[in-house]
């Protein structure tokens, strides 16, 4: 697992209060991890803070799974 993936999963575990094992790459924040729309807004803010990236609202709306988040952040860091 990449550093980014590990850090993303740690943030998800902390913010949603879910078990680490449930936070797979495919897991959807809302459908699988019990988040509501406000939780996802806060998650994206936590990612921004932790990785020093800016995630505009239109991009944030497309981040619905753990993998979406990891991919977006890694693409931003590579850019």
């Amino acid at each position: 697992m990449s550093d980014t993936a590990e850090k993303v999963k740690k943030i998800v575990v902390e913010h949603l209060g879910v078990e680490e094992a449930k936070v797979t790459s495919e897991a959807s924040f809302i459908d699988d991890l019990g988040a509501d729309s406000l939780d996802t807004v806060e998650l994206v803010m936590a990612f921004e803070e932790a990785f020093g990236v800016e995630i505009p609202d239109d991009a944030a709306e497309k981040i619905t799974t753990v993998k979406d988040a990891i991919d977006y952040i890694e693409a931003q860091k590579a850019a």
């Binding site: 406000l38 807004v41 803010m45």
Partner: protein, 427 residues
């Protein structure tokens, strides 16, 4: 039939919960109160060194088993950040009250007939302050999506309803330091008038924060002369008193229609037999001359209650320990009770826990009911030398056993709002 609590439907109390500076849990708090203990100490919740008032009554931190507060034992960690502390404290007291009542609505009709009315004087002040500082630092985009819903006063009622699935009236009261009594009285009326069969009602407050303390300091309302002797600072009616001591906490009751409670075999603590309100129309913070508003609120509580002043044995006073308010309230109570004043016990439990603002009336309602249950008047701590003599016994320093059947509780708030409520031993 309107305006009467005894017809057409009678309202009783079937569950109670408390979080206050003497601890968490009704049994534990009451035991400490009757032992004349004080919950006032130096402020730990923030660094108060620059303020003239550096003491308060905080809900003690520690395990539930010791009668203290460990939030993790009450609220999932994930949900805690969605609630300002005033909501968290309400959740703790509401959980105790609901469990104590044994009321678990099984049908949709029962859920629809169960409502919530929890008020607060100020609401999420610490949360508002923190977020205002972020905006001030140019970080407006860093505000949490939970900022607004964690600060809104009616979200205490909202969270309790969500936790238990109570789908009846969901309401909230905001009348400064009269909030608690207004919430109990208004909720009782909803039951009396048929809007609900069961109401979870009370008040909550958590304003021991930099901005909350500084604000009340600016209004010159707080005690500042006892920072080195915090347990002596709240001294209602004593001639050395110099202001109120801030407290935090929540008091919640489960109110229920009498027949509903009987039918399910619920334990009944007391009946709410009277509720009265008035406005001073005088000043934003000072009570009116002769505390006429207090007198009229008490008088209104007796109206339609079926009892008269000679039948009351205990008064839980507003008694905040401010130089002006205490003696004015005493005068109003003397006027209300006349010759029967000499058979009264009247105490201010704020002497032990400080002033819980919007939670005060609800917490003091719980104490009034316990005074009836155990036939004991809780003490007024630190009352060594009254500034004004009276025929009314103010239960100085130690509790007193008394034949208490009916108790009256007063709460008055900034803006000139007054409320009184009458409890009677369970029918």
């Amino acid at each position: 039939m309107f305006g009467s609590l005894t017809t057409p439907r009678r309202v009783v109390v079937t569950g109670m919960g408390i979080a206050c500076p003497l601890g968490v849990g009704v049994a534990n708090v009451w035991q400490r109160m009757l032992a004349s203990e004080s919950g006032i100490g130096p402020i730990n919740l923030f660094d108060a060194k620059d303020l003239p008032a550096r003491i308060a009554g905080e809900v003690p931190t520690g395990p539930k088993a010791e009668g203290k507060l460990d939030l993790n034992e009450w609220i999932p960690v994930k949900d805690q950040k969605k609630m300002d502390r005033f909501i968290q404290l309400a959740m703790v007291a509401a959980t105790e009250a609901v469990e104590d009542s044994g009321w678990v609505p099984e049908s949709e009709d029962d859920r629809n007939a169960t409502g919530v009315m929890i008020g607060s004087g100020i609401g999420g002040l610490p949360t508002i302050s923190e977020n205002a500082q972020l905006v001030g630092a140019g970080k407006a985009r860093r505000l949490s999506p939970f900022f607004i819903p964690s600060a809104l006063i009616n979200l205490a009622s909202g969270h309790v309803s969500i936790k238990y699935g109570f789908k009846g009236p969901n309401h909230s009261v905001v009348t400064a330091c009269a909030t608690g009594v207004h919430a109990l009285g208004d909720a009782a009326r909803l039951i009396a008038l048929g809007d609900a069969d069961v109401m979870v009602a009370g008040g909550t407050e958590a304003a021991i924060s930099d901005i909350g303390m500084a604000g009340f300091c600016a209004a010159r309302a707080l005690s500042t002369g006892f920072n080195d002797r915090p347990q002596e600072a709240s001294r209602p009616w004593d001639k050395e008193r110099d202001g109120f001591v801030m407290g935090e906490g929540a008091g919640i009751m489960v109110l229920e229609e009498l027949e509903h409670a009987k039918k399910r075999g619920a334990k009944i603590y007391a009946e709410i037999i009277g509720y009265g309100m008035s406005g001073d129309a005088y000043h934003i913070t000072a009570p009116a001359e002769n505390h006429d508003g207090a007198y009229r609120a008490m008088k209104a509580a007796f109206k339609n209650s079926g009892v008269t002043p000679d039948q009351v044995q205990y008064v839980n006073a507003h008694g905040t320990s401010t130089p002006m308010g205490d003696d004015l309230e005493l005068e109003a109570v003397e006027k209300m009770f006349g010759e029967f004043g000499k058979q009264l016990a009247m105490s201010s439990t704020k002497s032990a826990i400080g002033h819980l603002l919007g939670a005060a009336g609800a917490v003091e309602g719980v104490f009034s009911i316990l005074a009836i249950r155990d036939r004991v008047a809780p003490p007024t701590l630190n009352l060594h030398e009254p500034s004004r003599e009276s025929v009314i016994d103010r239960v100085a320093l130690q509790p007193q056993e008394r034949p208490i059947e009916v108790a009256l509780s007063n709460s008055f708030g900034f803006g000139g709002t007054n409320a009184s409520i009458l409890f009677r031993r369970a029918p």
